[in-house]
Each structure stands twice: as structure tokens, then as C-alpha cells.
Symmetry: C2
Subunit: 557 residues, 2 copies
């Protein structure tokens, strides 16, 4: 079965010039992203990507397009998703690929595709780059889920075009990319209609699709292009993105993988296979930030916060997909907290600039990716570290943090400190809409306000512990044993139990569509992905397309 | 492996005189419920209930006690949960029982235990019967989760008493009875402390337990009884329950099971094994309600709404536990909508009476049980039916409803109608806190207000469809085929996929602690209950107590 190890690592880095499956076109403020999947272009051998079905490789390109549209095209205010095939919009995730995949691969694939669809919604909501969708031909399963991630779905009224979520009746699994949640929570389709829709292979077309809220308009095929163009221009006209600005090219991300070390410019990762952990060190910027906005734009993808976001993002994806036996990620930082704070201040000062906004949102998405990763996250805070502002979020995202109280004999560096900046108080909400500080202090919301007054202050171990920002503060006598034991113990627990526990403890408080997708929907889907009715020898996912019939165990659990 | 079929049906009916595992004592406004599990009193053979560990049988008695305390003891304003054993509070769910059980049994067991703990919280919040907990000795796993369901936890400070959730480190499963959710969402324990706590076998005791919010107070063993008595009296003093009222005995529930028919006084169920469905018919009351409160009290458990709640509750539990291959529940009603409405009006008029409140809350809990049942629920609305008010909730709880438009040839009865009553607008919230009407009209909240003005009106099929209250309204020509096909199709789908789909579509909108328990927590737990690391030949749940070590697959999914 396909998994991370058997065919070399997956690389998430790509660029439009090498896309196999998507075509990007630009017409002033409107971009069009056409899905045109190459049947023989699967990431792994063993399946053909027929009918615009997709695998991880297709979705990696989609993810790249979402990113580049935001950074490289400030002039774009609307993005139309459409199909490059004549008779099909998209058949969803490739079934053969899914049925061949190991459990972990399925789960990781769904997580990544979900994150990309969430990013599409964020582009609409926060980057003011509104996504819409023009549906012609069959739009099934993951195809419709992609449409659901856009803010306006226009469907051809041609007697054959239909939207559907046929997973339950055809494959005995759930629509795994947010479909069920978006039906009832985003589009607020009446639950009994959603029930009917999700059990109807052929889906719904025409007027009923609009009446039920499954799409926003149906139009004759002959008028489709014109109306899509018109809507796209209307949406684009509402943007606050600067039509005349120059985009920031996302230059190729430099990365070296040598043995068990992954290195970028500001982020390095050392994998300890025996201990089952990855030690991730984030370097502070090495120089003062540019003086003004023009300087940020001039630095472009070299600007430290943007470079950091890209490197951390790539590393998280790499570790998730290619290093699934490394269960514990240990974050450390090194460098000047003053410089980290200076960059935070610059981002905060220019928060209304389109690029500064994009950089903040990218950091936000990357930190969210960390929160929903099925890995234990620890932070080690030691002399020489710089857990300030944006980098402090890494410690706040951690399941647990250890901060050395004092110094070590022979180490002349001052004791470690933490520093809050303005960006800890709203810039980086989690999937549940809360800042990590608010999530931490659910019991005492007033603490967050008090901490706000202390932004900029250096908090040593005692102050950080009193402020509730760290878990434990051993001194140098206890540190080695305490930290070593905690890491060893963590690596020895059941990976599955940890995943369920972490997913439950990380998201106290309110829920959003995103948090519901990663909780209720994904957890149920993961369960179903383990059930014989789906993945057993006669499971629906396995026999699909073979002409064999599934023979379900009829017991309800 | 233990499942529903191999040892005869489970009976949920019990009464204090036959309890094996709990001792109920009364002291004016304070009741004490002592857990004193009989080691040899397991519901199934093959395990011993050591250290106050529990199985479904123990929890059935707890459930019964929760019910009777509310109905039979209006004078009780506080309930103390304590242990009848000297050195242990409760070791949680019995591990050997769990490891012997089939997957479905585990899942169903956890669901029932969760519902009972939710009912304990509802008793505190809505019946004004405050539960508190006196912890002496080890209080581990499900033991601590029981404590967490109470509103005040007092722990002995004696050097050995501790609370713990050792499931992850010991058993590679999650605390399955709400523990993780209640830690971060109810008690708002800081997530990193919760992380540490949930991975620490020995748990936390003394001051730290209070500082971290795991318990509310620790007191010397010598003062424990006195302080518990004092707190209980304080809580009891705040109740609005009438100290001088007479309780309502919950008389033995009459039920006959003959072949595939289960019959109560007002509820009947016919099981069609071939089609995999249960046809459940609820009868309207046969006579006018009593004229006043005194009449309700005089009728006691014969009062139709209370009898209905008890019968429906028992039937749902019976079908869930003993008929797991019956995947579709079809609800029908018969009788006079006028009489149903009259009873609803009576309950609404006396909403502040303790008994009327209890009856409404019992109906609320029963309907919630229906919502979280892993069965497809259909409602068939035909001539002669009485889907009014409380009974209309059954149709609103259904995944789908069919209402016959018009009459059938040869049937002189008038066409079916629906009728809203005041009780549809707030009496019966779902686990997510929404009424079923509000959940139905998430997209158009104003519709609910408009419908309120139409309470009491008879809505025929066309009006009901226009109002959005039913899914489909076939006429007599289409009815048979449409309904038959829908039921056949439903019964043919994968039970697992349906369970995940229904759990996802039923609960749009906000989330509460309860809804999070049934979504995030239970879904993850169900997943883990399928994973080899927990239940494989060398899974932690299987080898526990054998001296063998688990050999985990280290891949994170």
C-alpha cells in the first residue's frame, strides 16, 4: 500500500511553469484556474487520474496556485475555478489512489486538501480575493467540495451538469474535504435535504440545486461564460487589493536534505530516528528590518517573516508526509528577540498594506497547520533563544513547554526570556477563531488583557511561569533528566492515542467551520477509513470499479 | 467477543431494591450515592469488577439512580457521589470487559455512559439538584470522569488520594466519557497542564490538583466528611425544588417482547429483520389531560408525557444495545393531535412546577438520545397520525420525513396534518443547544419566529412543505414506491458511512460541551478503538494486565 516511505519523499515545492494539472490565466483583476488533470500524471504509479480526479500531486499544485495568486498577483480580486475538460468538472479524489493507500496516507492527504480549501476561503474572506466556481459537467465528491470552498457557485443548466456527494452510496466513506460541514454550516442547507443529497449518487441539478442552496445560480450553458465573467468582475470590483501594485515572486525555496538534517535559510531540522523526534530550530532574523514598506516590498520573499512562513510551512508538510514515524516535534529558537520584535512591529504598523497582510495571513495559516498536525509538539526555551512575538506562538502552540530557569554552568549567556508582541494578541487565530493566548486562558480571559500591557517586557522563567506562559521551568540541575524523560515517555506512547488526545485538548472553547471539519468530520472519516465496510477485502472503497459488490457488516456501531 | 447478540438482551430497567453496585442514602435535602461495585456482579461473564471498576450493568444502575433522584425525591437539592470502598474511589471502566468487547459494544457503552454523565450535569443545571463528589482513594479514568460530571469535587489530602486520566499511557485509548472535553471546556484547565495530566499514570494530588483546576478543594481526610456534608447543605440550600413535595414513584415499566414486536402502553415497535428496520409507532393519549397540577401529580408515572418519555427512552436503549443490525428507525404516530396539544399546553402552563419541569427535561433527554443514536431515523406522516408538538419533534429529529399529500382511496380519514405547539420552540433543545426548528432553519432564523405565530394551526402536506417542516410530500400514487425505495436504499448503504454522515449533518450550528463530546471526542475514540495499537493482538487494551508489552506501530496518522 502506498505510504510515505515506499517511493521517495513527496516534494511540496512547485511553480506554475511545471504544473501538470492546472492552467492559470489572467484577465486584469480576474484570474481563472482551470483544472485539467493529466491522466498519466499521478504522483504515484498504479492509478490513472481519469475524469479530472485528483491525488496529492494535483492538490499540491492547487495549493501552490492559491499561494501565488495571493502574493504574486495583488491585482487579482477574483479567481474563477473551472474545468479544462469538456464534459466533467471534477470527479473528486481518485478512488483507486485512495484504495491503494495506507491509512496514514489517506488521513494526511485529506488533511492537506482540507487546509487548501480552508485557505481558499481565507483568500476570499481576508485577502479579499474572492473565489467563485463555474460548474460544467459532473461535479462530484471532492469536485463539489472544491466548489463549496468558493463563495459563489454558478452551474450550467444543461440537463447533464449536476453537483453530488456520492461517497456514502458509492464508496461507503464520507466526503472527506469538508463537504458535509460546509453543506450544513456554510451554505446552511436544510439537514433533511442534505441527507437526501448525500445519499443520491446522481446528485442534484438545475433549479432544485438553487432552491436547496447547493449552488448559487444556474444559467443556460450558452450564457455561462458571460455570466461567470460578469460575476467575477463584480466580485473583483469589491476588493481592496491594489490594482497597480507589483506582486512578490515566490522564488524557489532553497532546501537541503542531507541524511537526517533538513535545512533552510532560517529553519533547520535534525531528525533523531532512534528517539522518534525532530528538533526544529528557528533562527531570528540576522539584521534589522527594512525601514519602511518599500523596503519590505523590495526584499520580497527574502523578507524574514515571509521566508520564515514558507520554510516552516514546507518543513511541516515534509515531516507530516515523509516522516510519519517521527512523532514528536521539538521547537527551539535562536537569535535576537529584539530583531524578532522589530519585524513584528513593522508588520503590525503596516497591517493594512496588502503584502504585510498576506505575510501575516501566511504565518497564521502555517501556525494553524502546526495546530492540526498529528504530532506531539514541545517547545524548549533555553538561553540564546528568542521566543518573542511570532516565534512565541510556537511555544504557545506546543502541547507542553519547558523553560530553563537560570543559566547553565559555563554558559555566559543570560537566562532565557519570553517576550510578547502585539502580534500575539490577534494576528494569528487558531482554527477555532481564538488566539493561542485566549485558548490558553479560557478560564481567565482577563489574563490576556493584563498580558497585553506587558508586551515588550522580557519575562524570565519565574515571570513566564507566573504569567502562565510555560508549563515547567526546571533549573539546570533538573533540566536534562526532566526534559529527556518527558521526550522519551512521549515517544513511547501510542501514536494514535496521542493524536486523539492532542486533537481534543488543543481546541477548547468555540468551534468554527474549520475546527468542525478537523474534529467531527475528519475524526469520523478516519474511523470509517479503518472499517472493513470501507477498506476490508470486500469494502466498498476496495471493490469500487471491479464489478464486485460489497458485503457489508450490517451492525451499527 | 462480547456483543449484543451472544448473551441475551440487556435490560435497562432496574430499581434501587435490586441495585448490586450502588447505595443510595438520604438525609433531608442531601442524598448520597455510594459506588460499591460487586466484583462478581458483572453484566457478562469473563471479568471481575475490581477496584470499583464498572461495566454497562453498573452504569445502568447509576442511570436509574439519576432518574429516580429527580422524580422520586423532590426534596433532594444536592447529591454526593462517593465511594463505598475504603481505598479506592473508582478505577474507571473495566479494562478486561472493554478488551473482550466487540467494537460496537465499546462504542455503545461509551455513548450510554456519556449520556448519563450529561444527565448528571443537567440535573445540576436544570433540575437544581446539584451533584458534588467526595474523592477518597484512587480516582482514575472513568472514575475521574464521573467526578468531572459533578459540579464540585472535594478530594482528600491524604498523600494517596489522586485524580488521574491514565488511559493514554496505560491503555492507548482516550478517556471516553467526556474527560478530555470537560478538562479543557468545563473546568478550563490550561491545555499544557491537561496534556501533562493526561499522560501521567499516577495523576495529580493535593494542592497542585486545586491549582490546576482539576478539583475544587482538597481537605484533610479527617475533615472530609464534615466538609462534604457542609458543602452539600450549602448547595441544597440554593435549590428551588420543593422540600415538602411528594415524589413520583417510577413504577416498573411494563414492556412485552414477543418475537419481533416490542410493546409498551403508548409505544410499539415492529422489527423487520429482512428490511433492517424498526417501525416505531407512538400513540397519542387516549383521554383528556388532568385539569390541573394536582391531577398531573396524582397520575404520576401514568401521566402520558412521562409514560411516553420512559417508554421511548427504554425502547431507544433496547434497540441500540440489543438490535444493532436494525439500522433504520421509522417513526409513526397515531391518535388525536388535539389531545397531544392539550398535554403540551398543560406542561407549558405549569413549566415552573418541579414535576412538569422534570417531565419536560426527561422528554428533552430522550429526544437528545434519539439525535445521537447511530441509526437512520425516518418519519412517515400519514392519515391518522398526530405529529403535533412533542410528537412533531420526532419528525424534526428524523434525517428525513415523508408526508402523504392527500388521502388514500378507501381511507375515509382526513389528510395528515402537522401541528406546532409552544413546546417546539424551546422546550427540547438538542445537544448543541438549538431547538430542532432552529437547527432546521439555520439559513433563515426568521422562519422560526414566523412559525411561532402559526402554532396550533393544522398544516397539511402542502403547507408543511412550504413551511419547510417535511422533506417530501408524495401523493398516494407515488407514496408506496418512493417510501419503499428510500427505505430499501437506506438499509443497503454502509452502516458506518451512514453513522458518520448522520453525525455530521444533524448538528449544524453552534457546539456545546455535550456536542463536542459526541463529535470530536467520541469520533476519535471510535477511531482509536479500531486501531491495532489499541485492539490488535499486541494492542495496549488487549495486553493490559498480562505482563506483555505493546509493540506500537509508530506511524502517526
Amino acid at each position: 500500500m502506498a505510504d510515505a516511505s515506499d517511493r521517495g519523499p513527496v516534494d511540496f515545492r512547485t511553480e506554475p511553469a511545471t504544473y501538470k494539472h492546472w492552467k492559470l490565466a489572467f484577465d486584469g483583476p480576474v484570474a481563472t484556474l482551470a483544472m485539467d488533470v493529466r491522466e498519466d500524471g499521478g504522483l504515484r504509479p498504479g492509478y490513472e487520474l481519469k475524469l479530472n480526479s485528483y491525488d496529492l500531486g494535483v492538490d499540491i499544485e492547487l495549493y501552490d496556485a492559491v499561494q501565488r495568486l495571493r502574493f504574486e498577483h495583488p491585482e487579482v480580486g477574483a479567481v474563477v475555478v473551472t474545468s479544462g475538460k469538456e464534459r466533467v468538472f471534477c470527479a473528486g479524489a481518485n478512488i483507486r489512489m485512495l484504495s491503494q493507500s495506507a491509512h496514514g496516507w489517506k488521513v494526511n492527504f485529506c488533511k492537506f486538501t482540507n487546509e487548501t480549501r480552508n485557505a481558499i476561503e481565507e483568500a476570499t474572506g481576508e485577502s479579499r480575493q474572492t473565489w467563485l466556481c463555474a460548474v460544467t459537467g459532473s461535479c462530484a465528491g471532492g469536485g463539489y467540495e472544491l466548489a463549496l470552498a468558493t463563495d459563489w457557485i454558478i452551474m450550467a443548466d444543461d440537463g447533464t451538469t449536476a453537483v453530488s456527494l456520492p461517497e456514502v452510496p458509492l464508496l461507503a466513506v464520507l466526503p472527506g474535504t469538508g463537504g458535509l460541514t460546509r453543506l450544513v454550516d456554510k451554505r446552511r442547507v436544510r439537514r433533511d435535504r442534505a441527507d437526501f443529497f448525500c445519499t443520491t449518487e446522481e446528485g442534484v441539478k438545475g433549479r432544485r440545486a438553487v432552491e436547496w442552496g447547493l449552488v448559487d445560480e444556474v444559467v443556460p450553458r450558452s450564457k455561462l461564460d458571460e455570466i461567470v465573467r460578469q460575476r467575477a468582475r463584480e466580485f473583483a470590483a469589491r476588493t481592496d487589493r491594489p490594482a497597480g501594485a507589483r506582486g512578490i515572486p515566490l522564488t524557489p525555496l532553497e532546501r537541503t536534505i542531507a541524511g537526517d538534517r533538513v535545512a533552510y535559510r532560517h529553519v533547520a531540522c535534525a531528525i533523531d530516528r532512534q528517539r522518534g523526534l525532530a528538533e526544529i530550530t528557528v533562527q531570528a532574523p540576522s539584521e534589522v528590518p527594512p525601514a519602511d514598506l518599500a523596503g519590505i516590498h523590495a526584499q520580497g520573499s527574502r523578507f524574514w517573516p515571509l521566508a520564515l512562513a514558507r520554510e516552516l510551512d514546507d518543513l511541516i508538510l515534509h515531516l507530516r508526509t515523509n516522516e510519519d514515524e517521527i512523532g514528536v516535534w521539538v521547537f527551539e529558537t535562536a537569535g535576537s528577540a529584539d530583531l524578532v520584535e522589530a519585524y513584528d512591529k513593522l508588520l503590525a504598523a503596516h497591517r493594512n498594506d496588502w503584502l504585510a497582510r498576506e505575510i501575516r495571513l501566511y504565518l497564521k495559516r502555517t501556525l494553524k497547520r502546526l495546530d492540526v498536525s498529528s504530532r506531539s509538539v514541545f517547545a524548549l526555551i533555553e538561553p540564546g533563544s528568542c521566543f518573542a512575538g511570532t516565534l512565541l506562538e510556537l511555544a504557545l502552540a506546543a502541547d507542553r513547554s519547558y523553560m530553563l530557569d537560570g543559566t547553565r554552568p559555563g554558559d555566559a549567556r543570560p537566562p532565557a526570556t519570553l517576550r510578547l508582541t502585539e502580534l500575539n494578541f490577534g494576528a494569528y487565530p487558531m482554527v477555532n477563531g481564538l488566539t493561542r493566548l485566549a485558548a490558553r486562558f479560557l478560564a481567565e480571559p482577563a489574563r490576556v488583557d493584563k498580558l497585553r500591557a506587558r508586551a515588550g517586557e522580557d519575562l524570565d522563567a519565574r515571570a513566564a511561569a507566573e504569567a502562565g506562559l510555560v508549563t515547567f521551568t526546571p533549573d539546570d540541575i533538573d533540566w536534562d533528566d526532566e526534559v529527556r524523560l518527558a521526550l522519551e515517555e512521549r515517544a513511547a506512547f501510542s501514536p494514535d492515542a496521542l493524536t486523539g488526545m492532542e486533537a481534543s485538548l488543543r481546541f477548547g472553547g468555540p468551534e468554527t467551520i474549520e475546527s468542525k471539519i478537523f474534529a467531527r468530520l475528519s475524526a469520523w472519516q478516519n474511523w470509517i477509513f479503518q472499517r472493513p465496510n470501507a477498506v476490508g477485502a470486500k469494502g466498498a472503497l476496495v471493490v469500487y470499479g471491479t464489478g464486485q459488490r460489497s458485503d457489508f457488516d450490517r451492525r451499527r456501531a
